[in-house]
Subunit: 122 residues, 2 copies
């Protein structure tokens, strides 16, 4: 899913969703915000593997799609920013949950299969 930009492909619902969720960390970011992680630095702490710049980029894209909203506290020092899910963002949660659930349920299988693939592919 993370992946590559989705082409303007048709009326397929799958591609519509992909267009919005495409981006290596978007599902994770959405999930984090949904869990109450609001500040960029906290999101980065929650997803250490993602570079801050990338998180910012994907947050902006999500914001443009109306999935998240940004709240700035101009008078706060240091500067404080918070992100929230919009109603539309909330409506994506079932998708995120489905993705998360399958991953949790098949974790062992995927990990062992990946390991087999690597040793064989080499």
């Amino acid at each position: 899913m993370y992946e590559r930009k989705i082409p303007e492909d048709l009326d397929c619902g799958i591609n519509i969703t992909m267009k919005v969720l495409s981006g290596k960390w978007k599902p994770c970011i959405i999930d984090s915000i949904h869990k109450g992680v609001r500040r960029p630095v906290e999101i980065h702490a929650a997803i250490p593997a993602a570079a801050p710049r990338v998180i910012n980029m994907q947050l902006r894209e999500l914001e443009e799609f109306g999935i998240v909203t940004k709240k700035v506290f101009p008078d706060s020092v240091p500067l404080k920013v918070e992100y929230y899910l919009t109603p539309i963002g909330e409506s994506v949660m079932p998708v995120i949950r489905a993705i998360e659930r399958w991953g949790d349920e098949n974790k062992e299988y995927v990990i062992t299969t990946s390991a087999t693939m690597e040793s064989a592919g080499k």
Copy 2:
């Protein structure tokens, strides 16, 4: 989702699923096979935007992950091949359906938002 290869990131269920579904057309391919589209040429016809080579690549990856199985009819002329979902592949369908449903329900919104983004971004 179609996206980029997912890093070996942890125990997060989301990334586990992403590791399997990452690939521009994988969800579409899985959905097609689930609907009874079995032969490569038919899958290609169902997803014209995807190049045959890419479809083959992603089919092979899905096969390595045990999501699909390949059946070859050696004596058939022209050569005939069919793909089927494995039980594990079937278990992914709820994820695909969730993705598809959200896309269908928010098609209008996403399309108009995309259009706005493009004209503004220019």
